[in-house]
Assembly symmetry: C2
Homo-oligomer: 384 residues x 2
């Protein structure tokens, strides 16, 4: 960038964006993120008044110190980075800041992250390829306590061209603080399915991506205070809130989808899956509604032995019936995931109880990089 261009783009930024009064545009002093030919990545932020700036990117094990350059621009180069999509943000004197140069964001109730997309030398399973694309539709549906629910619905390529065809449905739930957009914007569920379908690996299916925090929606729409998330995922509060989600899904969302989309409405053609809190909601909703879901995919989550013995005795106590009903019970976790140990205990419990399951243990942590891979591994198994 020439000085003149920089000046013009700063002026344009201040002038065009927030009507009338200037806001510093940290992206003005150079590209960020800049993916270099060797797959190292350079991040930049203009923060002339800051005492300390760190980069927090999920390709690295922890925060990375950034270095102040001339004119108050901080930068750092990390990597080479394995091709994938990584959430990141800057930590400016302790405050989480998105990358002003990047328009791709992590939809979340709380943290504000940008997305680093490092492409591979060959296309990845979540890349946009030159294949037929499905669409993702924002829907409103009548949800709990008279509120209006929001949900995203992926329909596979050709859905609108094949009015006689009905499809199976995969309900796919995001994690704590995520929104109904996270499986779309971060998880790339639509592109992963587009690619798997084009390769003939997955059956064309509808994917329904709900918002997992029903209490927050009710509070927002009725004017109450949004409740904090339960700190302990095994707590009574966490279980009660999972139940609210389950009731909304079963009583409100599934009927809405089945009324408005061409779906095959039986358990053999209905799957549920989820990441983190969504994985817990998946197990509870699946085990609690064995007549409704024959496919259960749990990504980076578990249920405790205590809860299984107490609330799902019918499922875990009758392996023959359970194995007959469930076409797939999938459990995935990374060895660096903070939930690795309880998830392993969960898997061992299933094994001890003679409940059929498939598991995939990978490297990596409690991340959307991993959960994307789990989706790519499980979608080909569904509805077959």
């Amino acid at each position: 960038m020439t000085k003149n261009t920089i000046f013009r783009s700063l002026i344009a930024g201040a002038f065009l964006c927030f009507s009338g009064w200037a806001v510093g545009q940290p992206g003005g002093f150079g590209r960020s993120p800049q993916i270099n030919p060797d797959k190292t990545v350079t991040f930049r932020i203009n923060a002339p008044n800051a005492q300390d700036v760190k980069l927090s990117v999920q390709s690295e094990k922890g925060p990375v110190q950034m270095v102040k350059g001339e004119r108050g621009s901080w930068s750092v180069t990390v990597g080479p980075v394995k091709p994938d999509i990584y959430p990141y943000s800057f930590i400016v004197d302790g405050i989480q800041v998105m990358d002003a140069g990047n328009m791709y964001y992590f939809p979340n109730e709380r943290f504000k992250g940008s997305l680093l997309d490092v492409r591979g030398d060959s296309s990845l399973i979540h890349s946009i390829r030159d294949v037929p694309h499905g669409t993702v539709t924002y829907e409103y549906y009548p949800s709990a306590e008279g509120t209006t629910g929001t949900v995203l619905v992926y329909t596979p390529p050709g859905y609108n061209k094949n009015p006689g065809v009905k499809y199976p449905v995969f309900y796919l739930v995001s994690g704590t603080t995520d929104t109904e957009e996270t499986w779309f914007k971060v998880g790339k569920a639509n592109l992963i399915l587009d690619n798997l379908i084009a390769e003939g690996k997955a059956k064309p299916m509808i994917i329904v991506m709900p918002y997992g925090n029903i209490e927050a929606r009710i509070a927002e729409q009725k004017g109450g205070l949004k409740p904090a998330d339960p700190a302990d995922r095994e707590s009574a509060e966490a279980i009660a809130r999972s139940k609210t989600f389950e009731r909304d899904l079963v009583d409100n969302l599934i009927p809405y989808i089945e009324k408005n989309y061409r779906v095959i409405a039986n358990s053999e053609n209905r799957a549920i899956g989820g990441f983190s809190r969504g994985g817990g909601q998946t197990l509870r909703t699946g085990f609690g509604n064995m007549d409704k879901f024959a496919w259960i995919c749990c990504y980076s989550a578990y249920l405790s032995t205590t809860e299984l013995e107490r609330d799902f005795k019918k499922v875990v106590g009758n392996p023959k019936e359970t194995n007959q009903k469930l076409k797939l019970l999938w459990v995935s976790v990374g060895t660096e995931d903070r939930l690795y140990n309880p998830t392993t205990e969960f898997i061992n419990y299933l094994k001890a109880k003679d409940i059929n399951y498939k598991s995939l243990i990978t490297s990596g942590g409690h991340t959307w990089m991993n959960t994307k891979a789990y989706l790519a591994n499980t979608a080909p198994l569904l509805f077959k």
Copy 2:
């Protein structure tokens, strides 16, 4: 919030969000934004290390100083605020920061804003009402230079229930640095139309919301450097880039929409409208393709007399033919808009040339609050 709840929610935030390493969650110390019963609004951010924190909210004329309280939490109360949706952010030592307590964001290439939604005592035209809802669909389409384009498509309530019905189409373009999502997330085009259709005020129509910055998409997908936006909207560069947009719309997007949606494919059933840069693109594309668009809606934008005389002589020099072709030429602007003067000149020029137009001059500036109102005023006129 009790101390214990705060502690738990901070722990949960650090624990659940960015895998493994803690990030301060500025929203942890209290609700933000908090809309009080008298429609004043309290904003809060936890920034213990900051020297200076301001609030930048479009309900106010300029940045508002925030005050540091105990434990490093800054807050300020503004208003009473007129019910509407206002973009806002915090300015922490000169850096733009979103509100961590708020999940509603302003989709933009550059600035990172949150959205303040102050509801009215009675429902506003952009509110979610208990009426039939249309849907908004993310589509991929084959765009310029072999790239994959992204576009949002609103279909009105009942679209999927009425397979024999064809609809008119309104192409609706956002402003500089906005994305294809901005008319949806900030402009609430879908809810405004849902409500107008339910009241019998607007005809059911499809709304197509493209991304306006085609050069940036090409650069991104082909690995080039995204070009800075032209500083001057009358410059040769601005006009050339508007032409790229026009060609993509006419050659790629319209054919895609007409192939994939049930539309009435003629000029009487095709409208184009836009805000700011999108308004300029609207005028250039509309005047340049009079056989394609009989409805042109320009919100907070204009063309210069020089450009009109040079590039659109056929349109402005033949008022009789132009007036016959155009069912509506609409121009709106606010008296505090920085483009008020050139827009007024544009209107006066149309008048002097005997070109039929309708105009609505309002108070307010170059804002999404105004452009939402312009959409609500023009949509009822279309296709009638």
